[in-house]
Subunit: 326 residues, 2 copies
């Protein structure tokens, strides 16, 4: 399968690196909105094209991985590029998924392509776990916890505070809440009871630290509803200790069965990821394989992870899967 990348940021580089781990895949080209000369792929032989040169790459790509952001890039790019290619994206604005799906579905169907949206781990693998859990245990509760990991949105919010030179925010699930869920206690948890937020801030010289801390802790939507800790550190400490983009989280389904609903069950799925964009890229590529296969079967239209039979994700045949993995 020939893979193309649109957008060469953290996610794009993650896809580039993950392609090397999949023997049936090859990265053929990177498409960019920048001047192609300024993009230097890490992989030899990969060509770089401008978004204005679609005609030149049409036959070089089986599946195009869209690596832009959900706020402004993907709502435009995914329907647009579904006209020319089979595409896959990681659109993660949960509330706007139905609208995005409809737009992409129309473009993909009109042009006979397969598109898969909202792929990664949440939405993505976590969504699958919520679906499996709720389908198996209809009488039960769902819990999703995120972290410990870096929230890009909250880190951006910190950096917009006056006097802040650099900053990073970690979302951390509350251990006592996790344990209550894990024991099947079905707790009702407020926002504050589920997660804490820990901020590492490099202040500008002479900045008012008390003011920064207060501005962060009282920021509506981002921090006001959480127990937030603010640590001030130096630029050196920041580079040394906070360069990575780790993340992870937990999805639980707890439920009951039995004629008297006397038996409890706890289903738990968790991720501990050293690199959020690289893991997301790895999920995307396994689903890109499914997109490619569906396209070769003559399918068209927009899909989500819910629509993909798991066997389509693996390079192994049905026989091999049944013999070795079932």
């Amino acid at each position: 399968m020939k893979i193309g990348i649109l957008g060469y940021g953290n996610l794009g580089r993650g896809v580039e690196s993950a392609v090397r781990q999949n023997e049936d895949m090859e990265l053929t080209c990177i498409i960019t909105r920048r001047d192609p000369k300024t993009v230097k792929p890490a992989t030899e032989g990969v060509e770089v094209y401008s978004v204005d040169e679609i005609e030149k790459v049409k036959d070089k790509i089986d599946v195009l991985v869209l690596c832009g952001g959900s706020a402004t890039d993907l709502p435009v790019q995914t329907p647009e590029f579904a006209r020319y290619f089979n595409v896959i994206d990681s659109f993660d604005t949960h509330a706007r998924i139905p609208e995005h799906f409809a737009n992409v579905d129309r473009a993909a169907k009109e042009n006979g392509h397969v598109a898969l949206i909202s792929c990664g781990w949440d939405p993505g693998m976590f969504s699958l776990m919520r679906l499996y859990g709720a389908s198996i245990l209809p009488e039960g509760n769902d819990y999703t916890f995120w972290g410990k990991g870096v929230s890009q949105g909250h880190s951006d919010a910190i950096r917009r505070v006056k006097g802040v030179k650099n900053g990073k925010q970690y979302t951390i699930p509350v251990e006592v809440a996790l344990e209550a869920v894990r024991k099947g206690e079905n707790p009702e948890l407020t926002t504050r009871q589920k997660h804490t937020r820990e901020c590492f801030v490099v202040p500008e010289e002479g900045a008012d630290l008390a003011q920064i801390e207060q501005d962060i802790k009282t920021m509506p939507n981002y921090f006001a509803d959480y127990d937030t800790t603010v640590h001030f550190i130096t630029e050196e400490e920041f580079s040394r200790d906070h360069a990575g983009i780790p993340h992870g989280g937990f999805v639980f389904r707890t439920g009951v069965t039995g004629f008297e609903k006397e038996h409890k069950h706890v289903v738990e799925f968790s991720l501990k990821l050293d690199s959020n964009p690289e893991f997301t890229s790895s999920v995307i590529l396994s689903f890109a394989r499914a997109v490619y296969r569906l396209s070769r079967e003559g399918v068209s239209g927009c899909k989500t992870v819910f629509d993909i039979a798991p066997a389509y994700l693996s390079p192994l045949s049905g026989e091999e899967l049944r013999a070795h993995m079932l």
Copy 2:
């Protein structure tokens, strides 16, 4: 959907109870090899038929759930009944799955039915986790641990030992092994390092306890390769403390990503089940929904959990799933 049950043991009763938790399902009949008069369903209105009366129930069942054992029942029953019904089973003899698949596939295709084999949690949900994990992280390791839970096979083996009146065996994952895997240390684990076995034995009056303990601990295949503990208890203690059939386990995928393979990831899935047969039944019913839907789409042949797009498991529509679960 009209559900039928063949075989009214622990699993059959689990299915009966789980049907009540699924609003789109109805249990119409139980088929038995015993005298139908001796089978008393817990649900009012459910009819009981002999296996010789298939013609009478042909139109009463959309999906027949086969609740027999894997050793001798299912290899015969699943292909046989796939001639008359859409069927689903929990065949769990891993080594014989390819052969079973071929037999069932032939019968199902010849008669235009859908069959799904090896459904439950292992094989079943654990198989799915192994497949997702290996597809997402191609460079990595798989680990499956079982327990803490009752192994029926090992409990049966104990009860065959001379001087044993009653007995139950719990398989227990070794905590230090779990922790090493969870930390991404990729340990190589022997059989003994992964699980211990704990036996609760009610001896016959005057039995030689030392001999029983030795016979159990040295039993090849079942116990000789494990650290095994034997506790002698009274029949009263047995009834009071060991009446349940709990089980569970863990599936891990650990792997690396990055240009230098510098980032580690740990994917963990675990189950803690108060009732093994009831949870297995609940998994089976969600996949029975998929069998029914595929059948209505005109599909025929044998499937496994790998072949089922997750959306087919849920009573919710695609729109609802995308809006609320993705």
